[in-house]
């Protein structure tokens, strides 16, 4: 996206709900997020999901890109200790978040804009609570930025 287009995105977002990009995983956290929908639990429509096979496959640069382009925050719905691929997935995911935070700081963004929590295949309620709280945090950051 060009710089002008990015500016347009930021202008369009003004007054709207915080946009949160969620990286979930096909076999663990995505079923948990689906379950939240099946149970008609409500969270902000600003929350949108991209699903991958494993949390350890997320590039830190994707997180930085998402925020740089207009998402208010990135929530990683991680496999935690349930990853079927990598026994050290939680440790790797933690490293990915740390790297992303360094990138965000270098780009002038608040590292609080990335958050991670383990979401299991039945974690409908925890997911909903996490993204509601994160949305509130990001709304606070928006408000602070406009003062």
């Amino acid at each position: 996206m060009s710089a002008v287009a990015v500016a347009d995105v930021h202008e369009k977002q003004a007054g709207s709900v915080p946009r949160i990009l969620v990286f979930s995983t096909n076999n663990i956290s995505d079923p948990g997020i689906d379950l939240a929908g099946s149970q008609h639990m409500h969270y902000s429509p600003g929350v949108e999901v991209i699903s991958l096979p494993c949390t350890s496959g997320i590039k830190p640069s994707w997180i930085a890109h998402a925020i740089d382009q207009g998402f208010d925050g990135v929530f990683i719905a991680s496999d935690g200790d349930e990853c079927a691929y990598l026994p050290d997935c939680a440790k790797r995911a933690s490293g990915i978040v740390s790297q992303a935070q360094v990138l965000l700081q270098a780009q002038g963004h608040d590292p609080q804009r990335v958050k991670m929590a383990a979401i299991c295949s039945v974690c409908a309620e925890p997911f909903t609570k996490h993204v509601q709280q994160f949305s509130a945090t990001l709304a606070g950051l928006r408000e602070a930025a406009t003062k």
Binding site: N27, H42, S44, I50, G57, Y85, L86
Partner: protein
Amino acid sequence: MTDERRIGVYICHCGGNISDYVDVKRVVEAVQGEPGVIVARDTIFACADASQQEMEEDIVKHHLDGLVVASCSPKLHTLTFRGVARRAGINPYQYTQVNIREQDSWTHTDNPAGATHKAISLVKSGIARTRLTEPLEPLVVETTQRALVIGAGIAGLRAAIGLADVGLEVFLVERERELGGWVGRFGAIYPHGRNGRDLIASLVDEVRKRSSITVFTNAELMAKSGSFGNYVAAIRINTDLPELIHVEVGSIIVATGFDSYQPEAGEYGYGIDGVVTLPEFKALVDGANGSLTYHGRPVRTIAYIYCVGSRQPGANEYCSRYCCAATTHAALEVAALDGQVHQYHLYRDIRTYGKYELMYTESRKRGSVYMKFPEDAPPEVSRDAAGRLTVTTRDLLTEGQELAIPTDLVVLVTGMVPRKNEELMSLLKVPVGTDGFFNEIHPKLRPVETVVDGVLIAGACQGPKNSAESVASGLAAVTQSAAILKKGVAELDPLVATVDADACTWCDKCIGACPYSAIEQVEVGGRQVATISPATCKGCGGCVPVCPEDAIDLRGYTDAQIRAAIDSMLEEPVA
């Protein structure tokens, strides 16, 4: 190049499940001008046969080369619409499913305008990803029509019989001298009350009747090589002159069972004469001849302490599931031997799930007394100066009254723990969970498959199970093996990692990130670079972020696709 794509987009109403909250017509209008979109329609039920046929007609008529269906969760219909694509001549991997039901309409029933904006955003993102898809072919591998079963307990024996009955040759490997595992040591077991030893004897008899099953006892798997559909297993037979044999197999069923929790000395009085574990007690009951005795003395009172070694913070945090039912069943056996024996059950929670609740009720009718102790004040076991064994507890059901129960026997109701077998875990490369049991891909959707293609798990090596549940999972593994092996060829998803050899500088970081040994160093044009074996790669993408040169991509989730998906989402503001 991307503008040359010809994509069909279908937005599903799902009856009213989606369209009650999402303005589907508006979504169609919003996406029909997206680059590459040739057809954009709404459909009442995208998965209906008639709708699938209309999509196929559109694909042929408009020479489409990409397909996007925005409907329910991809878990439900990805294969359905890949089938539509395939039948109409589109590569199935150029199809994208967008979830606007579970992750949109159903979770924003309070905000239809927001749900509609979000649907537009998600569909645009799906179109962007589809524009960057490449035709991929499934990895086709020939499969060996033989299976290896590791462990000859009840799950392994039943799996071996099932495999033979679907026409596969079977190698059954048992580490012990005898077949049968835990069940082969028991007398009557729940839920059916059949004798465990008899049950195993009949299964062993069935195994002997089948010439296609080769049994190795005193034997262990020492090495595994090859890849999906064509593994070579090295089995060591531990005789006076150990022998190493190699067998070629297409699938491996791991049914190595469990260990029983062994209390520490002093844990609930373990080590004091008269304090026994559940398996030790079961042996006493099975060996009772007319009445229950311990060291030759008649047993008149028994105190059972539940959840020993289970549900302990920082240790075995899981519930072993079988022990409550096994104990109530044993209590019924004791009552049948001698209705005058006093039986006290000291529990945290009784989890006799499903129909096992009937055994719990029956045991109460036969005189068993149940007392609930507080989680933070478990019972204490001691033997006083006069030599009397006593259990002291607080009973929450009688307002926390403290009780001292003189007893002849204390049974520590111990659960299942993962069997210690580091070598096997290391050579199979099957991940284990935090509880130490082998991990399936998904407990409900893919309950016996592991991330190692062709390696399946059955029985209590996966987590605590009773004998009936173990047999059920053994048979599930048979079905899965048959699906893999009977056709003689198997297809693997080609969504694996690839290396851009031009960008790779061979720093070797990716090798350390892959526990499956899928990455190797090769020479290309005089340069050392990494290469990834498609048949061995599990498609996790764990190597992708570690590459400092961004030289690795995961097919279906490439860097370009993810960035395009992110950018396209943001084109639509969400109120």
